[in-house]
Subunit: 353 residues, 2 copies
DNA sequence: TTGTAAGCGTTATCAA
DNA sequence: TTGATAACGCTTACAA
């Protein structure tokens, strides 16, 4: 491994000068700088990150701790984080698939001295508490709706409003018995979405009922499995709100297999608006959230905190969630909005399309 | 920030002793060790990673460089890498969404001194070449079918065989005019899958034709858009092989909107077997690949290389791709295999279910 | 069993 | 504009 010393020797200067050149210090002679760049190129030298961060006590790295997350949601968060971090010349140290507080705290501890700050998504309240307790005072942004307002910053999605708008729409369409498929027990986002569902029912004077709140875990299979409970409920629901699109997709599959017409006999609404939502049959009405932006904002907030201006005051941001109407809720006929045309019109909203 | 010195002072020992305790060195008195742990706990001390890696010249970190990747594929690769890395007490420094060789090489360079090795997925051959050229001799595993057999290790999916088996199945079902929707231009996996398609046609004495090889970019929208070309081809194809499931989903959506019966008038096969494949209408026949395992194997190979036994010989591994039959290819009627039952039976093969 | 001290590859503070 | 040199926080011979 070539070090700064090798370059200094080759260029006939001191290591201080080489360091200056690589840090863009203007007080270096032009020809000297050129000699240094040449030597460095020749020797294929690049400053050692560990050594650099030891002296500067800045790592240019953000730690990212995520729970056990699947599919599009995960990739989009990371994409957003990665984009924003790279733009600011930060790297990201990732640790995902954490099941419990112990694991996530251990992972955070192992990042000591390697990161300038942490972005943490706690799957449930217990984890969030544990993290706050153990991690004391280091720059930290939660990817959660939550918490002690002045403990740290947080960005979240307006899950509650999103869930409410979905169910309110179903109510506006005339549905009176509306079921939901819940996310994992204890999951904060899932709880908020459920809260939105209940809010909407309460707002319309409809009563909630345990038999209408079917268990789920965010997987397609959970959606499939929920179908039997859905059809067994008395009175039988005419609409169902799934806490995410994977489960909504499972519902659509299961309902098709059971011979139940959607939206005729059962309206379905999902949450997340994943890419395949409009490819399902019928195209899935869902609540769109900009998960990528969620990641970007988290980085933004964290960089404000670790920035040169010293610790900025904590902030909380909530990103909107917007209902996207398609055919699975029965609000529009297919002929009104051919999918091909819609795909084109949507393109500005979804960068992957 | 508390350092080893603070702990030494508090415990009344030298810094060497503290270091020994934290490194599990057995030559430390039992009571001394206890005092050190106490002091460390009290002061909330944990060794600084940067400093540690500077002395040991080991970072316990793996660099991961990925191209612009979407959805389930991305999350699963990371999941696999993360799992295997954590098990070996390694962290991962991630940089994704790289569009071109310049970017990926720059990102790799910025990781100097911060990682013990690199896992790189090059989207196209140009990138792979560039990486090999610039990164010279540091432990490196490609997540690609590829390359200079003794330059470095590589793990890949048997895209070619997977594509071939999908198309051979269509041929066995009697289809004679079979189209494909290609992945992004230059993408290695996409090219291999296309190669498999062509192999199968050639093997059956069927002729390939440019008008049957529709352009695509791995997005649902590309699938939607491919429908018009598909239906315009003369003679009209009776089956289509999509280079990934997102595009296959788009095809299903587009064909439904166009009023073309699947599989009756058009059989459809995808690639990847993403979670929602069986929720589509009709359930999508696809080629299953264990993407998570791909990530795990990459870590395994890399750890062999950076391991204490010195640089192991380079290895190449190819993971199998297996056709999963569902209804979109018309090979089975729905009543034969109710989806609910299949979901249960499949559970051993797919950990998320 | 414990302590002293020499690095590891940088940056940054002095002088020159 | 440059060069010595002292940190940075840790590991690890080598001594005691």
């Amino acid at each position: 491994m070539t070090t700064i010393r090798d370059v200094a020797r080759a260029a006939g200067v001191s290591i201080a000068t080489v360091s200056r050149v690589f840090n863009g210090n203007p007080r270096v002679g032009e020809d000297t700088a050129l000699r240094v760049w040449d030597a460095a190129g020749e020797l294929d030298y690049w400053p050692n990150g560990a050594a650099r961060s030891l002296t500067t006590s800045r790592t240019q790295t953000l730690g990212v701790l995520l729970p056990d997350l699947y599919g599009d949601f995960f990739s989009e968060v990371i994409r957003g984080i990665d984009q924003a971090a790279r733009r600011a010349h930060f790297q990201i140290l990732l640790s995902s698939s954490h099941a419990d507080p112990i694991e996530i705290v251990a992972a955070a501890r192992a990042m000591r001295g390697r990161v300038d700050g942490l972005i943490i998504m706690a799957s449930d309240r217990g984890t969030a508490e544990a993290v706050l307790g153990f991690l004391g005072r280091q720059p930290l942004v939660f990817l959660n709706p939550y918490l002690d307002p002045d403990g740290c910053s947080a960005v979240s999605i307006d899950n509650r409003a999103g869930g409410r708008s979905a169910v309110e729409h179903l109510i506006a369409l005339g549905h009176r018995v509306i079921a939901t498929v819940r996310g994992p027990e204890g999951n904060i986002d899932a709880e908020e979405r459920l809260g939105g569902y209940r809010d909407a029912l309460a707002g319309a004077g409809l009563s909630a009922s345990p038999q209408l709140e079917l268990p789920g875990d965010f997987t397609e299979t959970a959606g499939f499995r929920a179908v039997s409970g859905l059809l067994a409920a008395v009175p039988r629901p005419t609409a169902v709100f799934a806490a995410n699109d994977a489960m909504a997709a499972g519902l659509l599959g299961g309902l098709r297999d059971a011979g139940v017409a959607v939206p005729g006999e059962m309206a379905v609404v999902g949450f997340d608006d994943i890419g395949v939502a409009r490819c399902l049959t019928p195209p899935l009405t869902s609540v769109r959230v900009d998960v990528c932006e969620l990641g970007r904002r988290a980085v933004q907030l964290l960089l404000e905190t670790v920035g040169p201006d010293g610790p900025a005051p904590c902030r909380r941001e909530v990103l909107p969630a917007r209902l996207v109407l398609r055919e699975s809720c029965g609000c529009r006929s297919r002929t009104e909005l051919p999918v091909l045309a819609r795909g084109a019109g949507d393109s500005g909203e979804r960068d992957r399309i």
